[in-house]
């Protein structure tokens, strides 16, 4: 057997070596790309200074506020509705596909494949693909967010079911309860807090993503931002960004409060 002292000194060497290798890869990469590290670093404050000057909302940009606000509310509602629909679909599919509540190995594999398919096509690609079929409308954005969320939530819900519900499921199965009784009396009550927590997270995430989807599909707050930006009304664009940040932080605060109550 290896002596513990030798093992620890080996481990110390390994860590040093790994850090050296990562650093080496970085230096090599920037050499190949002719990336000027020093100037790159110095450009960051300059860029922020430029942002601060040009994107600063002025008294003049207040006139855009009602329109921004209206679009923002629309976007938030879109994010919430797409998440809720996704959650309902995901819970059923996750029950079919999880290792403990699933029907059989074949269905479980199919569900995993579907979830990973939806999840691994980037949101941008979904938006562009759906744009062809559904044109420039809120529905396109809704669908893009929905498909993405379904992929993530199926995966998350399956893991929640497997982690949290398997023991109580076993207990109720042993009492002679039927499959649906076990699902409704044990599995769903047991996993509810974790599921709500994931839904809240997904809503926050989808509000942020809805902005990007809006730029691509020409709807919601993203479209407004795009218009202001491309017509050089940087102050209004800055105002839009601030409004988005405000809403996202507000949503996060609210959902943290809800989590405290339900968990």
């Amino acid at each position: 057997m290896q002596s513990p002292i030798k093992y620890l000194s080996h481990k110390g060497w390994h860590q040093t070596a790994i850090i050296a290798i990562i650093g080496g890869i970085y230096i090599l990469g920037s050499q190949i790309l002719n990336f000027d590290n020093l100037n790159g670093l110095l450009a960051v404050p300059k860029a922020f200074a430029w942002l601060g000057v040009n994107f600063k909302p002025t008294a003049h940009s207040m006139q855009y506020f009602p329109r921004i606000w209206q679009k923002l509310i629309q976007t938030v509602l879109l994010a919430i509705s797409s998440t809720m629909v996704a959650a309902i679909i995901a819970i059923f599919v996750a029950l079919l596909g999880s290792k403990v509540t699933g029907i059989n190995g074949f269905v479980q594999t199919i569900v995993r494949a579907i979830a990973s398919f939806f999840r691994n096509i980037p949101l941008v690609a979904w938006s562009m693909i759906l744009l062809f079929s559904f044109k420039q409308s809120d529905f396109t954005g809704f669908l893009a967010l929905l498909l993405m969320s379904v992929g993530y939530l199926i995966r998350a819900f399956m893991e929640i079911i497997e982690d949290e519900a398997s023991e109580t499921m076993l207990a109720l199965k042993a009492t002679g309860a039927s499959y649906f009784q076990v699902i409704f009396q044990a599995v769903l009550p047991q996993i509810l807090p974790s599921i709500l927590s994931w839904i809240l997270y997904m809503i926050e995430n989808n509000v942020r993503d809805a902005t990007l989807v809006g730029i691509l599909t020409g709807t919601g707050i993203g479209f407004i931002f795009d218009i202001y930006y491309k017509s050089f009304r940087f102050d209004a664009a800055g105002m839009t960004v601030l409004a988005i940040i405000f809403v996202v932080i507000a949503l996060e605060t609210i959902s943290n409060q809800i989590r405290k109550v339900i968990l």
Binding site: E167, T168, L170, A171, L172, K173, A174, T175, G176, A177, S178, F180, Q181, V182, I183, F184, Q185, A186, P189, Q190, L192, P193
Partner: protein, 237 residues
Amino acid sequence: MLEVKDLQKSYEKDKPALKDISFNIKPGTFVAIIGPSGAGKTTILRSLNQLIKDDNGQILLDGNDIRTANKTQLRKYRRQIGMVFQNYNLVERLTVIENVLHGRLGYKSTLAGVFGRYTQEEKEEAMSLLKKVGLENFALQRCSELSGGQKQRVGIARSLIQHPKVILCDEPITSLDPASAQNVMELLKNLTEEYNLICIANLHQINMAKMYADQIIGIRKGRLVFDEAATYYQRIL
């Protein structure tokens, strides 16, 4: 009467987890299955209500073989066999009384069970059982707020409301402190006599087995090494 004959199980080929396990248990008997970790105690217990499908043998409850039952019949057997777990396996977010009532699900139609509609008698019985295990003042508390010993007593009440002939206890006291452990063992012992039950508990603690069990079954490496009335061990150990 519970009769087990030549029970066999292997999880991997040529590596038997259980080999030729046979024993009989009369009603009103508190049985301890003892043996080291990995000996096959849990496998025996879980084949008795077919949570684990064994490979071969016979498990007769009052003369009927559980192993050959179809899905509907198995549900009917399972509701006569209560089960108590090491980690209690309660729905932590639900109240104590809801968890006790879960023991009735095997008797209900799927729809009534899904929506948790219980009859007045069932609710009253749940309350009287909670009184029996000393938790009548906790009926509306969430299970997550209870101590380990209290949770285990909820688990016992859940199995009793099934009107069982058999109660299987899978390491019922392993997660408990010594005082709660004694409390739970005493409760199981008394209930066995009162309801004329067959109560089978997997135990690590030989002294607990000696103190409470009427019959002790010893398992090592998947084989039965002894099966005697507990008085025998009280004399020799």
